[in-house]
């Protein structure tokens, strides 16, 4: 059947196919699939963001204002699941899809049909996940980490577990595709140590994904069998242990944290050299630092569990292993700064987001270092300090890098320049309000306000109100982003040049803007001079 069907689909590879279903649902084109991923991530960003707005509205002042505590719990759980698995991760996969083949001189991803499946699983997985909000019993409410026994009380557990299975399958296939593309599809002369740092960061991230997504699948499968099939993995009465779940979950969870930040490191390592007009400082050190961070991510998981009652030896091991991560991370931060040092810098929107990333991610890194200290963590654990910490690394870290990347590559994708003025308006509003939103949460946490509660002591009222105001304005600011995107894609009159940015180097800037539907149909002849890292070994 398919044989006959494919006969009719003479894919005119000189351009995109005309039919909507053919183009978007049957695609084997890395650019179209990348676009699908990015649009999906943006949609999920606003759905997850609307949950966050409701959370901040409820927390605007003490007392229960708008919702039942049970619904509040569903919101915090869903906000995290949607943002992590629906917004941040698919956005990075979309960027990888679009840029990796362009950066290594490949015509497409190595396994284009599997690429399409990786994407199309996601909308269905999120229909399944989000539908639980409308089912009797409501959505998952035990937090995104789904710790038993709490998560086992939820009626929606089966839906959530299967949604996570689907997302895991999607991520694993996407990661396999990226590894095969990078290892097998590079143009001749694109040596591994000449690849852009973004490609390196994705290679290592893909390895992490394949290594840990199956572990999450195993963990949630045990939840499923404990709830529905009478197993006792997490029931002490039967010889099990709820803490076992936490170990397995965080063996996934900590590498997952780096899955959400390593591609961001790659993006920043592309943007900063372009606008500093200097090659990146310490290319090899940057690559090895990413690899080091990835390795360490496998031996630090229990720092999420310091307060759960671990043996002392384990607490000390995980504390020191965690603190070791600041060494390769420090290498990266210093190298970005050194790249800018003495450069002839300009401050277009992508660069602004990159600089904000470096500063604000470092704040998130330092609060992470504080959390790594076992004795201090007993105070900080499950407070708003933790919330502030991971929002600094995920919002001003991962999300700012994604937004920066969107501004950076948008002219290459669309052939149009975005509005620099509105880009800057978006940036300054984002960077101000995100700090108003999250910085006071450090103080709330240090003062003892627990996370995941709809009501709080009146002593926390002022900072919560400030945080909520920052939250509403940060949320509203993102509507500017939508405006900038729509204007750039459909209305902008200002055409982009092929190189787009004066200081941009690398293969992706040698193809026309917008990038044609098919690029590098024959392997490009690579001149080391046009690569950002062509002379690493000289």
């Amino acid at each position: 059947m398919s044989y006959a069907a494919t006969h009719d689909q003479h894919d005119d590879h000189h351009g995109a196919p005309k039919g909507f279903f053919q183009r978007w649902c049957m695609s084997t084109n890395h650019k179209d699939i990348g676009t699908l991923y990015l649009v999906f991530a943006l949609t999920m960003f606003f759905i997850g963001g609307s949950f966050a707005m409701l959370i901040r509205a409820e927390l605007f002042k003490p007392g229960l204002q708008l919702m039942e505590p049970y619904f509040f719990n569903q919101l915090t759980t869903m906000h995290a699941l949607v943002m992590i698995f629906g917004a941040i991760m698919p956005a990075f996969v979309g960027l990888g899809n679009w840029m990796i083949p362009l950066m290594v001189g490949a015509p497409d991803m190595a396994l284009p049909r599997m690429n399409n499946l990786s994407f199309w699983i996601l909308p269905f997985a999120f229909i399944l996940l989000l539908s639980t909000l409308f089912l009797p019993g409501g959505g998952p409410s035990g937090g995104w980490t789904m710790y038993p026994p709490l998560s086992l009380q939820s009626d929606s557990l089966a839906y959530v577990v299967f949604a996570i299975h689907l997302m895991g399958i999607s991520s694993i296939m996407g990661a396999i595709n990226i590894i095969a593309t990078i290892l097998n599809m590079r143009a001749p002369g694109m040596d591994l140590l000449k690849m852009p740092v973004f490609v390196w960061s994705w290679l290592i991230t893909a390895f992490l994904l394949i290594a840990v997504m199956p572990v999450l699948a195993g963990a949630v499968t045990m939840l499923l069998t404990d709830k529905y099939f009478g197993t006792n993995f997490f029931n002490p009465g039967g010889g099990g242990d709820p803490v076992l779940y936490q170990h397995i979950f965080w063996f996934f969870g900590h590498p997952e944290v780096y899955i959400m930040i390593l591609p961001a490191f790659g993006i920043i390592s592309e943007i900063v050299p372009t606008f500093a007009r200097k090659p990146i400082f310490g290319y090899k050190a940057m690559v090895f630092a990413i690899a080091c961070i990835a390795f360490l991510s496998f031996i630090v998981w229990a720092h999420h569990m310091f307060a759960v009652g671990l043996p002392l030896g384990a607490e000390i091991f995980f504390m020191y292993a965690t603190m070791l991560i600041s060494v390769p991370t420090g290498v990266k931060v210093f190298n970005w700064v050194a790249t800018m040092w003495g450069g002839s810098m300009t401050f277009e929107t992508p660069m602004l987001f990159a600089i904000a990333f470096i500063i604000l991610f470092t704040i998130g890194g330092f609060s992470g270092l504080m959390l790594a200290l076992v004795p201090a963590d007993f105070q900080y654990h499950d407070t708003y300090f933790v919330v502030a910490h991971f929002h600094y690394v995920l919002v001003t870290g991962a999300l700012f890098a994604i937004i920066g990347a969107a501004y950076y590559w948008l002219p290459k994708w669309t052939g149009n320049m975005y509005s620099e003025f509105w880009g800057k308006v978006h940036f300054w509003n984002s960077v101000i309000w995100v700090n108003v939103l999250f910085f006071p949460q450090h103080f709330l946490g240090l003062a003892g306000m627990p996370r995941r509660i709809p009501d709080y002591n009146v002593a926390f009222a002022n900072f919560n109100m400030i945080s909520s105001i920052g939250g509403f304005l940060f949320g509203a600011t993102q509507l500017i982003f939508i405006g900038v995107l729509i204007h750039c894609v459909f209305f902008s009159k200002k055409k982009a040049t092929d190189r787009v940015w004066e200081g941009a180097k690398g293969l992706e800037w040698t193809v026309p803007s917008p990038a044609p539907h098919h690029t590098f149909e024959v392997p490009p002849v690579i001149h080391d001079d046009e690569l950002a890292h062509g002379h690493v070994n000289d």
């Binding site: 003479h10 199309w120 839906y159 299967f162 006792n232 039967g238 010889g239 099990g240 149909e521 024959v522």
Partner: protein
């Protein structure tokens, strides 16, 4: 978004209805044609899990809807696999796949097997943690003194028949499956099947079709025999040993580890049978037989997992 289809420079492109090969060099890039199978796959996977979730949550007596959806989904998944692989086989037989595509497929399969290793790793990790930490702690060792004293002071921790179902003896008294009976036989069966599949591989490279069919057929039979014995062992466990899924954490780890392994053997046996049919139809030659090799790799993988199971679930 608009991405006007432009084309930089005129290149001579070899058109092919099943995809296109870019450029004219021998080792040119190949990008497959559009296909609806990925989208169909996403739909049927969703149907399957939606049906399953609905069924699991249904009140007793009203499980019909979920079951129906689940059945439709599973049939859809099978049809999807059949259709998708059929089109890939057609393309492969059409000689579209060059060396680079072959390498991509190999990498894909290798990393898929690595992900499977990590999936089993989660369950082995659970087994080790339970045996080394949670059960001894419940018995008052090391770190668990207070839990033991206050909650279950009469619980003497050990693994296996006497206390493997925890301090509340969930599921009641049970016996374990002796390692040196059926499990040993199954170990020998799987090890033999790894040898026979390797002999078949060598025969394929030497071009001896009769020998391939014989040894690959033997491998399929050995896989099926393993599954028969495994099913027999489960029935014996339930009927005579009172070892069930509910037998505390011993039953949980025993049945989930051996069960997931059994599912993988089932899948592997089906894949081997498909490969046997493909050999019969003459799909492979001495150089091009990645389909065979991928299944052989998978078979060795389930074999190695079994060795881990035999060691840590049955013997120790």
């Amino acid at each position: 978004m608009q991405f006007p289809g432009q084309h930089d420079g005129a290149k001579v492109i070899k058109r092919n209805p099943r995809g296109y090969t870019m450029g004219q060099q021998h080792d040119a890039y190949f990008v497959p044609a559009k296909s609806y199978w990925p989208f169909v796959a996403a739909v049927v996977m969703f149907t399957t899990v939606f049906g399953a979730a609905h069924w699991l949550n249904a009140e007793p007596g009203e499980s019909g809807f979920g079951k129906t959806v689940l059945t439709v989904g599973v049939i859809g998944v099978l049809a999807m696999f059949f259709g998708w692989f059929r089109s890939v086989i057609h393309e492969s037989m059409g000689g579209n796949y060059n060396h680079q595509v072959d390498t991509s497929f190999r990498m894909g399969m290798m990393w898929f097997i690595f992900s499977e290793v990590m999936f089993f790793g989660a369950f082995f990790g659970a087994l080790f943690y339970i045996r080394m930490f949670s059960v001894p702690w419940l018995g008052g060792h090391g770190h668990g003194t207070l839990t033991h004293q206050f909650l279950w002071s009469d619980y003497a921790a050990s693994w296996g028949a006497s206390a493997g179902n925890g301090p509340e003896h969930i599921g009641g008294a049970f016996s374990t499956v002796p390692a040196w009976g059926l499990p040993l036989l199954n170990t020998l069966i799987l090890l033999t099947s790894s040898v026979t599949v390797t002999i078949a591989h060598h025969a394929l490279r030497a071009g001896h079709r009769g020998k391939i069919l014989l040894f690959l057929g033997l491998t399929v039979l050995l896989g099926a025999t393993f599954l028969y014995f495994q099913a027999h062992e489960y029935m014996e466990a339930y009927k005579e040993l009172n070892l069930t899924l509910h037998s505390g954490v011993y039953g949980s780890t025993f049945f989930l580890l051996t069960g997931f392994h059994g599912l993988h053997v089932t899948l592997g046996t089906i894949m081997l049978a498909v490969i046997w049919l493909r050999v019969l139809k003459g799909h492979f030659n001495k150089e091009h037989h990645f389909g065979f090799e991928a299944v052989a790799w998978y078979w060795h993988f389930v074999d190695v997992v079994w060795l881990g199971l035999f060691m840590f679930v049955y013997i120790l």
